[in-house]
């Protein structure tokens, strides 16, 4: 934590319009499903309608006879080569990890499990042939409810594991020596508040359905996939299928959103690869939206039992968190670790002296869960921010006053929290002051009082979320201490072309974030070359050999630093050559604005001139390699900790239960901003997803385990008409842990907004006896809460 922060140069801080847009607004895009290869075949997948059943018989003979069908494969056909989909995060040494076949062999464990694939000359024909496959199932008892799943005598999702409990993960500040004993704190405290909150199951619902194309011709198997993680995918495919890694090339072309939903090694990728290899022909699989809703991993789905204690003056004394987290039927890449990421965020921005977190991961017969925007941190932030409001209500304090009393003040940074993380920087007072000013906090409180007094049918609620998050995933040694199976570094390279143009290669694989623009800005400043002269390359293991890809708000804070470090190496390689060209000593050179200048003179050579001299290589210093290209790998020393204060004013119609968001103010502190346009866009989109969890979205299963919200007609991704305009501003507390002072912004809006909205809804009707409304706060739930005078 020694790096000094460099102030913005010419490009950093500029609201550059994005380079990426040119192709995206004209339809000149390269989505995976756009690709056509000679001889390409199309795959379709038959999925189980039953949530838990034994496959007793599959008759694919009629499907195989359909003209144009090349092959039909069942689980039995591929059992010997499909392996088991990996989980890279064994959170405890005794964690129960089931076999995870891509194609079910004898048992299906959720409605949507794949049971057979058809390969045909067209997608239409493949879909037709699915209808001709006859599968007999013998129903097995279905496990859907987490508490029932843990009760003795419950049917088992995986009988061979002997339990539905995947793992129990505990952090206790008393045991860790980072704080006191929570049970002691609770029993010694004047005020104790207990609540149970439900984090409903969500569907990431990226706009581009997943698609994969595998070309088995040629020496390397080439896999195009709509994935966030081409590099991780390559390693995982090699490990899962036993294919030598150097025989695989993975390309993530234009990828239409991910939000964690494309952070996966999927059955669909494995199956497409296996059938392409069997048939010796390129094969493409593109999912329908309905397929996607049921088979792409879901997110959230927790039950949170929270206990907070305080003294009567509002000083928090302890926090106990007991979670149940629904894994669904199988484990994906980081499924069991997602709720664990929340362990470090329940204490949020507050000084909590005693803390215990215990999470029980549970298997059920539902689509498997995994990362969804924020992954563990939105759940934790929701829990603590809701509890702060509940505690304030219990104490009769203004909820902002309670927060002020307990938060870390800006003089106290760096601050080591009760779970051992060191927050490097922040200023909660400044962000809150700005947010309250923009929001008109006092005036809205007054209006709220008046509406209550006159018993207005439309009541006003004010919701607060003073959040922080851990971003820039992640220091490799921390990941190691959490038993994660990989590191958290990122790789970058800078290539100087003979004409002075620059290629920047990043292992951070973009899918809408604007890497091509933001990375151009930071390298333009570093190398002193024009923004337009830089091309940012990513998403192809042939071009970008190493990487850890994109998730966890890491691209700029980790990937950007790797690229920057590579640029610094280019400058250092150029220095002796420039000195030789200028006939001076290296120590006589000053580097600024893209050129080396002999100190005290106007004699200078630009980086472009050095690049050309290196290309010719006619007259270089003895022993100097004719190459400026450089690469670097950056492993962050700490997480970054963006924070902010979000305020939401919600009108609740007490007669209908309808909620209308009247205003939403978000003041975020994401450290130094490279491109304010991109940062604002990220916050807007994050807010929309967090608000969607609060008000609209829920993956609902019926009692048989069927997903009844399996299309975009049933699962309410909000439209423009459902959302308000947001008021944004920023404060800037630069990160002290990286040379640019950046913190990351991809998840902030989603993490902060859900509790702000629910706090506002509850605040609007608390005087009517309501102390919680279960998410999503639909008109029906709100109306019921009001009319039953209690939790719904």
């Amino acid at each position: 934590m020694t790096a000094t922060v460099e102030r913005p140069g010419r490009e950093i801080g500029k609201a550059r319009r994005r380079k990426e847009d040119a192709r995206l607004i004209t339809g000149r895009t390269r989505w995976t499903d756009n690709l056509q290869l000679p001889g390409m075949l199309h795959m379709a997948i038959l999925r189980s309608a039953a949530a838990h059943a034994r496959i007793t018989h599959i008759d694919a003979s009629a499907a195989r006879r359909v003209p144009g069908v090349h092959a039909v494969f069942t689980g039995a056909d591929l059992a010997g080569e499909q392996g088991s989909l990996p989980c890279a995060w064994p959170v405890t040494p005794d964690m129960k990890a089931p076999q995870h076949p891509s194609l079910a062999v004898d048992t299906v464990r959720f409605a949507g499990d794949a049971v057979a694939v058809v390969v045909a000359r067209s997608a239409y024909l493949a879909a037709d042939a699915l209808e001709a496959i006859d599968v007999d199932y013998e129903d097995l008892p279905v496990v859907l409810d987490m508490e029932a799943a843990l009760a003795g005598g419950s049917p088992l999702v995986h009988p061979d594991l002997g339990t539905n409990r995947n793992a129990l993960w505990v952090f206790d500040s008393g045991e860790a020596g980072t704080g006191g004993d929570v049970e002691q704190a609770l029993s010694d405290s004047e005020v104790v508040v207990k609540r149970r909150f439900r984090q409903q199951r969500l569907i990431p619902a990226f706009m581009e359905p997943r698609s994969v194309l595998v070309d088995p011709t040629g020496e390397q198997l080439t896999i195009w996939s709509a994935t966030q993680i081409p590099h991780v995918l390559r390693v995982m495919l090699a490990l899962t299928l036993g294919i030598p890694e150097h025989k695989l090339r993975v390309i993530a072309p234009d990828v239409g959103g991910g939000f964690g939903g494309k952070l996966q090694l999927t059955p669909e990728e494995v199956l497409t690869l296996l059938v392409a290899r069997r048939l010796g022909k390129p094969v493409k699989y593109t999912e329908s939206r309905s397929d996607s809703m049921v088979s792409a991993h879901h997110g959230r789905d927790q039950i949170q039992d929270l206990t907070i204690s305080a003294s009567k003056d509002g000083t928090i004394t302890g926090l106990k968190v007991e979670l149940m987290a629904d894994m669904g039927a199988y484990l994906g890449l980081v499924t069991p670790g997602v709720p664990i990421l929340g362990a470090f965020m329940f204490n949020a921005i507050y000084k909590i002296p005693a803390y215990r977190f215990a999470c029980t991961n549970v298997f059920t017969n539902k689509t498997w869960t995994d990362a969804y925007r924020g992954a563990g941190r939105p759940e934790a932030t929701f829990g603590i921010e809701r509890m702060m409001d509940e505690l304030a209500a219990e104490l009769g304090m203004d909820p902002m006053q309670l927060r002020r009393k307990n938060w870390i003040t800006h003089e106290e940074f760096p601050f080591t929290t009760v779970c051992g993380l060191t927050y490097d920087s922040g200023n909660y007072e400044a962000a809150t002051a700005r947010a309250m000013e923009l929001f008109g906090y006092d005036a809205l409180r007054e209006e709220q009082r008046q509406r209550r007094e006159r018993n207005d049918p439309v009541q006003l609620g004010i919701g607060i979320s003073t959040f922080t998050e851990m971003c820039g995933l992640a220091p490799s040694r921390v990941l190691g201490s959490l038993s994660y199976g990989a590191g958290g570094w990122e790789h970058g390279a800078v290539r100087m072309l003979p004409t002075g143009k620059v290629e920047v290669v990043t292992g951070s694989s973009a899918h809408g974030q604007g890497h091509e623009t933001a990375f151009s800005q930071i390298i333009a400043d570093r190398l002193g070359v024009p923004f337009e002269d830089i091309e940012v390359l990513h998403g192809d293991t042939l071009v970008s050999q190493k990487g850890m890809d994109t998730y966890g708000s890491r691209s700029l804070a980790v990937g950007g630093m790797a690229a920057l470090k590579a640029a610094d190496k280019v400058i250092e390689k150029a220095r002796p050559i420039a000195a030789h060209m200028l006939e001076c000593g290296e120590d006589d050179l000053e580097w600024a604005d893209g050129k080396f200048t002999v100190r005290g003179t106007s004699n200078a050579k630009s980086i472009a001139e050095v690049a050309l001299a290196v290309f010719a290589a006619h007259d270089l210093p003895d022993g100097v390699e004719p190459n400026l290209d450089s690469e670097a790998t950056y492993d962050p020393e700490n997480f970054s900790f963006p924070h902010g204060t979000h305020l939401c004013a919600a009108e609740v119609d007490t007669e209908t239960g309808a909620v209308r968001l009247r205003s939403y103010v978000a003041v975020d502190d994401v450290g130094v901003v490279v491109n304010p346009l991109i940062v604002e866009g990220q916050v807007h989109g994050g807010l929309a997803q967090g608000i969607a969890q609060a008000l609209f979205e829920e993956a609902v299963h019926d009692e048989t385990g069927t997903l009844v919200t399996g299309t975009l007609a049933d699962y309410l991704v909000p439209s423009a008409a459902d959302l308000p305009s947001f008021t944004l501003d920023r404060t800037e507390s630069p990160a002290t842990t990286n040379p640019l002072g950046v913190k990351g912004v991809g998840e902030a809006g989603t993490i902060a907004s859900t509790p702000a909205v629910v706090n506002a809804v509850v605040d609007a009707v608390r005087h009517l006896g309501v102390r919680d409304v279960e998410m999503p706060c639909s008109p029906r739930r709100v109306w019921q809460a009001i009319n039953q005078g209690g939790t719904q």
Partner: protein, 178 residues
């Protein structure tokens, strides 16, 4: 198979198609017009929106045979003489896209919206785009872009701007779609 004649982005095509073939699949797979994309299977997302005779349709809900004798404009046909359509420019200027998957449909719908109402307020824009989903932007910059384009586009520029017959000597022969 059924024969159709259709003009897409100013080029005339005659093709035999399966009667069940969706217009979006005809555009993508037969004509290579992959700028238009498929985002759902219930006509909720609007990613596949194109113009049929100058008005927006969700091309996943139209059969290719229904386009017989008609004129289709896709995102790929908007820019003229190397110059972006004002709506495309506005989307770029206002940072109204992130991953860009919804963008072709969103732009096509936004142009149709302005053809109906060339001076909309924010709420009219939000309601006019209700049938097009975006997961990245939270819509705020999309709304900003449409309002910005409304200022820059002349009234009634929508369908008329796209008509290609006026620029060609031979009119498009009518098929069986009337």
């Amino acid at each position: 198979m059924v024969g159709i004649r259709v003009t897409v982005d100013g080029t005339r095509y005659e093709d035999d198609v399966e009667p069940r073939m969706l217009l979006v699949h005809y555009l993508r797979e037969r004509l290579g017009k992959v700028g238009t994309v498929v985002g759902c299977d219930t006509s909720n997302c609007g990613a596949c929106t194109v113009h049929l005779d100058g008005h927006s349709v969700k091309s996943c809900s139209v059969l290719a045979v229904q386009a017989d004798g008609r004129e289709v404009t896709t995102i790929e046909g908007l820019a003229r003489d190397g110059k972006l359509h004002p709506m495309q420019q506005a989307f770029h200027d206002s940072h109204a896209l992130q991953c860009g998957f919804c963008t072709p449909g969103m732009i096509m719908q936004a142009i149709d919206l302005l053809a109906d109402n060339h001076d909309p307020d924010e709420q009219a824009v939000r309601h006019g785009l209700e049938g097009n989903l975006c997961r990245c932007t939270g819509y705020q910059n999309i709304v900003r872009a449409v309002l910005d384009a409304a200022k820059k586009m002349s009234p009634g520029a929508g369908p008329e701007l796209e008509r290609t017959e006026q620029r060609e000597t031979a009119p498009v022969a009518g098929g069986g779609g009337e």
